[in-house]
């Protein structure tokens, strides 16, 4: 097995995904639909916008969760690779210092 990882770049990716997540949080689809209630008074749209808004909220929450998970995984991977690298380096150093003792 061979690893070749630029953990700084992974963290940049995670940050970038975080930025996308922030922009998705700013999407207000349900708010944009709210004027429909006044534009078509008396019908099902006016009465059912709450249901539509809830569906959009659930939909966007799913997208946000996917992004959050991707960002978290990228950051975790970077941390883990760094930790492995650090642990390996430590182990190798302690092993070589033990040999000279």
């Amino acid at each position: 097995m061979r690893y070749d990882v630029d953990t700084d770049a992974l963290r940049e990716d995670a940050a970038s995904v975080g930025e996308v997540l922030a922009r998705v949080r700013r999407l207000r689809i349900a708010d944009e639909l709210r004027p429909l209630g006044g534009a078509i008074p008396g019908g099902r749209v006016a009465g059912g916008l709450g249901q539509v808004a809830a569906a959009w909220e659930a939909r966007l929450a799913g997208t946000r969760w996917e992004l959050r998970e991707l960002g978290r995984c990228l950051a975790t991977a970077a941390d883990t690779y760094d930790a492995v690298e650090h642990a390996s380096r430590q182990a190798l150093r302690s092993s070589s210092s033990g040999g000279t003792r």
């Binding site: 630029d6 992974l10 995904v17 996308v20 999407l27 689809i29 534009a39 008396g42 966007l60």
Partner: protein
């Protein structure tokens, strides 16, 4: 007022007041902002993709798993953008349909205002208290116009409510479906395509006038431009034969139907020829007649002289081909004339001839119409009685009024439909020859959309007084030529002689070389003292160029009653000849009573 269920099945959730309060512009604004959101989400998906592909940072098994995760996120953003697109599309479509519904309400308002009436916020029609005209016939006509107004206003408002309710329902379902994940990607877009609203049930040519025709007109108005194009393309049978739909749309749809009818007729003729035998001679004749009739329609439509042709009906499903062809712009011309013929008229044999004649007469009518346009329609929308049927049929016999009664609704619907489909009313005239006059007489009992009627060579009319019809006083014109036995004696089997109808205007078909010379020229043939060029003789000479009868017909069509020439004393004396029995009434000397 919030009751009911729409005829097409959609619940009538919206009142007229709700429709009036709709703001399609707000929907368009929502659609515009949704499009901005969609582009924003697509931008985010591109950003994620770009980050992933920007540089090699990582390799190994975990990297592949991360790539899968990236893929899921990008696909999710793509679906999100797709759902926003579907939402925006649904909102935009709803805006267009609500605009059409609002315009229907506007038409109802305008039609009411034109007649001094008004429609309140809830859609109730209020008629003004009309001053007494002191003329029972005029008041009866006024009452019929009010009834026609009521039918049209109610048809417009009912369709507006139905369209708005259906739009509201579809939009609500579309919004919810899109929010729950439907996208515009191929394969799923079709299921979100709004259903094409079907036209009112029932054939548009059913007997009775008003409701069906105005409902059809309102249906067409309730469609968006895109839906109209779809209807013509996908369901030409909904559009082509439908009275109340504008002529331009009918023409487009009927061209499609004409192509199909031609294909079917050629196939039928080939099959009949392949199986030729003594037993299918009638089928071979009939199939050849259909091919010839459709060819006549095609030929006339291809003509470029005298104005554009419009195919307003083609129907090859009956024993004979039916067709309605217009010269000129039926949707916009100030004057629209509808001609209906009589005994033995057939599309294959007569359409080209009528077209030749009416190109000329339309030109003459335009010349006297004070700069206004005239459209002329050859209405062959019924299976006219044929000569052989005099001995072979009772119901279809020209001596029987049944065919006229049965087809009067179709003619009345056509004329009413022209009125219902237009933005501005036309001055509408019906020219009716021979048995067509009897049919037009029946139609004039049903619709007030006819402004003027001119019957020539008509055997009889189904009323004795114009006040008994839906016509306005002074609008019935009667022409009967010297030696026209159908006109002179047809009343024996077809009700009242047209010349005897109270309130009818008797127009001239006859001219002397020198006025005032009278007719008592003893045994001289009439051609000695009659102006033969201007005089119509016999049953089939009314449309000849240069005759007074043709001039009178043109004057009526052009809305120039002041140009009509009425029958004078000399003419009354000279045209009372006794039966001509097929002889030329101008050539042979006849004693004048």
């Amino acid at each position: 007022m919030r009751p009911g269920v729409a005829g097409a099945g959609a619940p009538l959730t919206m009142t007229v007041a709700d429709v009036r309060a709709c703001r399609p512009q707000s929907l368009l604004e929502v659609g515009r902002r949704l499009e901005e959101h969609r582009l924003r989400v697509l931008g985010l998906a591109e950003l994620v993709l770009w980050r992933r592909a920007a540089a090699p940072r990582w390799s190994g098994a975990a990297s592949s798993a991360a790539a899968d995760r990236y893929g899921l996120v990008v696909a999710g953003l793509g679906r999100l953008a797709g759902s926003i697109a579907v939402t925006g599309h649904a909102v935009g479509h709803a805006a267009a349909r609500l605009q059409s519904a609002l315009e229907l309400v506007g038409r109802a308002d305008r039609r009411a205002a034109d007649e001094g009436a008004w429609v309140d916020g809830e859609g109730r029609l209020f008629l003004p208290v009309r001053a007494s005209l002191g003329d029972p016939a005029g008041e009866a006509h006024r009452a019929r116009l009010d009834e026609l107004l009521r039918v049209e206003v109610h048809a417009c408002l009912a369709r507006a409510r139905q369209a708005a309710s259906q739009t509201d329902d579809e939009l609500w379902r579309g919004l919810l479906t899109a929010a729950r994940g439907a996208t515009a990607s191929p394969g799923t877009a079709g299921q979100l395509d709004p259903q094409l609203p079907p036209p009112p049930a029932g054939p548009s040519t059913s007997a009775g006038v008003g409701g069906q025709v105005f409902a059809s007109a309102a249906w067409w108005r309730s469609l968006t431009d895109e839906e109209r194009r779809r209807a013509i393309r996908e369901r030409p049978d909904w559009v082509g034969p439908r009275d109340g739909v504008p002529a331009a749309a009918r023409h487009e749809a009927n061209l499609v139907l004409l192509g199909r009818a031609e294909q079917a007729a050629w196939t039928r003729e080939q099959e009949a020829q392949r199986a030729a035998s003594a037993s299918n001679a009638a089928e071979r004749t009939r199939s050849a007649e259909h091919v010839a009739a459709l060819q006549a329609v095609r030929d006339v439509l291809g003509r470029r002289d005298g104005g554009p042709r419009r195919l307003l009906l083609v129907d090859a499903n009956g024993p004979d081909v039916k067709a309605v062809v217009a010269i000129g712009d039926v949707d916009r011309a100030e004057h629209v004339v509808t001609f209906v013929g009589g005994l033995s008229t057939m599309v294959g044999a007569d359409l080209r001839r009528y077209d030749d004649t009416f190109v000329r007469m339309r030109s003459e009518a335009k010349a006297v119409a004070r700069g206004e346009d005239v459209a002329l329609v050859t209405w062959m929308g019924y299976d006219a009685p044929q000569v052989h049927e005099i001995v072979t049929s009772v119901d279809r016999n020209v001596l029987n009024g049944k065919l006229a009664r049965d087809n009067a609704g179709a003619l009345a619907d056509f004329v009413t439909g022209v009125e219902a489909s237009r933005h501005r009313p036309a001055h509408q005239t019906v020219w009716a020859h021979s048995y067509g006059g009897t049919l037009a007489g029946q139609a004039s009992l049903r619709t007030s959309a006819i402004d003027d009627v001119a019957v020539f060579g008509a055997p009889g009319l189904p009323f004795s007084d114009v006040a008994h019809t839906a016509l306005k006083p002074g609008s019935l014109n009667v022409l009967g030529a010297v030696g026209d036995d159908v006109f002179a004696y047809g009343w024996m089997v077809h009700g009242t002689a047209p010349a005897d109808v109270v309130g009818a205007s008797r127009l001239s078909t006859f001219a002397l070389k020198q006025t005032g010379t009278g007719c008592n020229h003893w045994l001289h043939p009439r051609s000695d003292f009659v102006d033969v060029r201007r005089t119509s003789a016999g049953h089939s000479d009314y449309l000849r160029a240069g005759t007074d009868s043709a001039r009178n017909l043109v004057a009526v069509a052009a809305g120039r009653p002041d140009l009509r020439v009425f029958q004078g004393v000399d003419e009354r004396a000279c045209t009372t000849t006794g039966p001509s029995l097929g002889t030329d009434p101008l050539r042979w000397p006849r004693l004048v009573p």
